[in-house]
Symmetry: C2
Subunit: 419 residues, 2 copies
Amino acid sequence: MVAPESSRLWRRLMTLAEIGAIPGGGVDRQALTEGEASGWRLVIGWGREAGLHPATDAAGNLFLVLPGRDRAVAPVLLGSHLDTQPTGGRFDGAAGVLAALDAVTDLAASGRVPERDCVVVAWMNEEGSRFAPGMMGSEAFCGVRDLAAIRAVRDADGITVGDALDRFLAGFPDLPRRPLAAPVAAYLELHIEQGPVLEAAGCPVGIVTGIQGKKTVSVCLSGAEGHAGTLAMPERRDAVAAFARCAVALHAAIGGLDPAIKFTIGRVQVTPNAPSVIAREVRFSIDLRHPDNAVLDAAGARIAPLCAAEAAPCTVAVTPLVTAPSNAFDPVLRERIGRAAADLGFRAMPLLSAAGHDARHLAGLCPSAMIFVPCRAGISHAPAEWAEPADLAAGTAVLARLLHDLAFATALPLAGPPG
Amino acid sequence: MVAPESSRLWRRLMTLAEIGAIPGGGVDRQALTEGEASGWRLVIGWGREAGLHPATDAAGNLFLVLPGRDRAVAPVLLGSHLDTQPTGGRFDGAAGVLAALDAVTDLAASGRVPERDCVVVAWMNEEGSRFAPGMMGSEAFCGVRDLAAIRAVRDADGITVGDALDRFLAGFPDLPRRPLAAPVAAYLELHIEQGPVLEAAGCPVGIVTGIQGKKTVSVCLSGAEGHAGTLAMPERRDAVAAFARCAVALHAAIGGLDPAIKFTIGRVQVTPNAPSVIAREVRFSIDLRHPDNAVLDAAGARIAPLCAAEAAPCTVAVTPLVTAPSNAFDPVLRERIGRAAADLGFRAMPLLSAAGHDARHLAGLCPSAMIFVPCRAGISHAPAEWAEPADLAAGTAVLARLLHDLAFATALPLAGPPG
């Protein structure tokens, strides 16, 4: 038995983390960049070694296909994403893609041909940091969002997803294109928890019950530019001052609503952003999450009136970007995750995902499930992000067991427990 | 008599404003950029037409010299700056340089040789928007700040003043270098008021009594990065939330101190500035001004304790950048400005400058004075900045009269009025 920290999975995670490495052990490998292309080349190479066939689609998702006996039936998909936040960690996304590759590689090496195709997937732009909002690849694949609308989104430099995607895929001219919105038999995703629950409980395996609801909103405050040394205070329409009042009011009213709410202003863009110029505009992002859709909607509805009350003498425009209600994962697959963990001797517990994942969209297309592994102190989206090799090995073993169930089942979806 | 809007001065102002033109009639021509170099080439060309000799110095100031009879005596300097804010106007700085060029051009055309050199100057980086804080050229020239320290300052892309300056001056290899800190007989600067006083009073000429005191401060709030969807609100150290509390408290306590105070947070930089990442750091600028040095000092002293009280659980570091006490301009030159305006039939009134100017530093080196012209609605540092052609012509005529006094005086400084 290989020690977890000497395993193929762990070595590959650390190798992949060298692409886009930043100080403190973190990774900056944003969507459709040269860094992500390098990640693709590495992962495609590992897939080819295992006999898998790489492919892509019009949305820039990456697939590694182990062909099944009957190519005509819907495949099992399993994976996550390879892109990171600008100051992200080594595990968010990458762990799920490489765990899936590990499981499919072992299946291929067993010599037994599965009933159906087993496909490792890396979704395009899960993070949404370069092009907001994220989960573009899974949204396009699942028909949640039109690809033309996704292609029109621009990054901070004005580059569209369409241009970045065409350039990115031009670097992989030999990859066949799979259709979008093709039938899928089941979807599995392993991910670090990005919260403190599993670590605190001493559980290496989390059975994800669902994903908490999320709203993202963009707010634009418009004032008037002026000279910092000359314009009297009462005559100013200072967008930074208005932003500060709005942010304090929003944090107090929404951030303090109940213990389960998450309220974040993560991006603030000031124009012209010069020390001696009164700002004429501030655009800021709101990320709001709650497991209860009614609370989420009620909190979201307060954003515009709170801003309107505080913004004067500036004007305010509130633009909703994403509303993703909370969802529940497939109960049969959840039961199977628990059974697999028990068979393998790992403690497991159910928990809600506080973070969003591509599995949210797949769950609308096919029976889907997620396996969480603990991460240290709940830290994620930061260089200090860390998962223990043994926990990743446990989660991957459970994923492999579930893949085996699905790969060789003659009929899907799997039936639930009797009674 | 040429109508003011058909004059050489006005046509040149409009031509110069095409370099770095931005929508709405504004200008983006920041220090040591290709745009400023184009401005230099234009102004040097006009100076050469008038028989002036261009030169520079180690701090990247531009000089256009009309030689006097005695080259050994200290020259008269007159000018302003050619750089602008990123969303600046057509008059701030440019009006002063081109008015000075107009006055010296007329003097040269008269055929009479002045007693001493008369030198048009455009100071390097008055605005301080690309490299903060500003007034670098006049500070280096006057020995207020060491050139080595200035050269080490970096812009947002990490480029130092030193590197930008060396590259900029390499584009002007034929310009002789004048020494820094050479004696100056007197300094005159025309500028738009950047406030509403002259317009409201219907006065085309302002006799600037002095410049209000200014402090600039940089504040850094440090928290901890985290995932917007997972980290519970009480466990966060959100630098944006801390910024909002600090900004509200600072505006209330300092911005509301008295009617004469000016308090501005114009620049806010969030790290990593991604919608779904709790910010680990916010750096922001404070620009604080008041005509009374005691009030300025007392207000400045409140910044650090106010931030410390609001920043928790983030930590705060407050770095003072500039403290420029209020100053008074030379009383003899002020009296001469009033007399020149009266002789020419223009209404004139004394007023304090709310904005900082290079003349602040020159006033420590030699007798100095400033002439203000009105600008519409007090708007400056914005594309809507506007000055009437007739007001600019009036201010320039007064400047030319004063230049004449200084150019032909056999002894400087000028004597005050009798009694």
